[in-house]
Symmetry: C2
Subunit: 150 residues, 2 copies
């Protein structure tokens, strides 16, 4: 269901890091490989636990610093643009979201603004869906304008 997650060779990694402007350290390499091997959308803590098997002396701070470096370099992404603070929803109807990834503004789209989403495949065994929601990510008008100026 996922591409085979071919663990990249040392040399490929060297290049990847260099292109991202990151120097090649043992910790960094092990961290990167660990995340690639975990197909499970891991948390920093989960990555830390896994990597400790290989580098027992690694610190959680290093894990966080490297995750941030990977994110900034576009080597990794965050699942949700709203981790960090709780955001509340008043509209209990089925609806969708337009999210500005810069200022975090959320705008609702009504369900009827979209053609219904249709699955072409079966869902993984036994998963019971309650509802779905489409999230469009991008920049709102004012953030888009600001980013053009730079």
């Amino acid at each position: 269901m996922q591409p085979p997650a071919a663990t990249p060779s040392m040399d490929e990694l060297r290049r990847t890091f260099r292109e991202a402007g990151l120097s090649f350290t043992h910790q960094r390499m092990v961290l990167y490989r660990a995340v690639q091997e975990m197909r499970s959308h891991p948390s920093p803590e989960a990555i830390y636990e896994k990597v400790r098997g290989e580098i027992p002396s690694i610190s959680l701070g290093t894990v966080y610093k490297n995750i941030r470096a990977f994110l900034d370099a576009g080597l990794l992404r965050e699942v949700s643009p709203h981790h960090g603070t709780l955001r509340l929803e008043t509209n209990l109807e089925e609806h969708h979201h337009l999210v500005c990834t810069r200022c975090k503004t959320i705008v609702d789209l009504e369900e009827t603004d979209l053609e219904p989403v249709r699955l072409k495949c079966q869902l993984p065994g036994g998963f019971r869906v309650d509802r779905y929601n489409v999230e469009f990510r991008g920049l709102c008008a004012s953030c888009a304008k600001m980013s053009e100026l730079s």
Copy 2:
């Protein structure tokens, strides 16, 4: 674009709270109305700021406790099931998510598993979409089984 957000009358609120098993207090009422008036998916902090205009002595703790009460009662929802902890994404391709709201597991669906999402309307002025992602929420097989037992 949103239903008129008719601020509920005192009596309607009394009933709403009673049905939710919540007693009717001044703070609660002002909080609830404030959230309904803010069509902006507010954070707890934003709600606190707004409500302080009306009840300067209210505490942030009370705001959090009431938000939790509203969430538990289904009067409010969280925008993201993953606020709280950073979750990382290895798959940089366009794809979608199946999320178990109980154990927070995330499973990827490939883009080709879905018919393309089609908008029936214009996006609000000037919004620039980079990508979109469909999030199916529900219970995974094992969590579904566990919840049947209770």
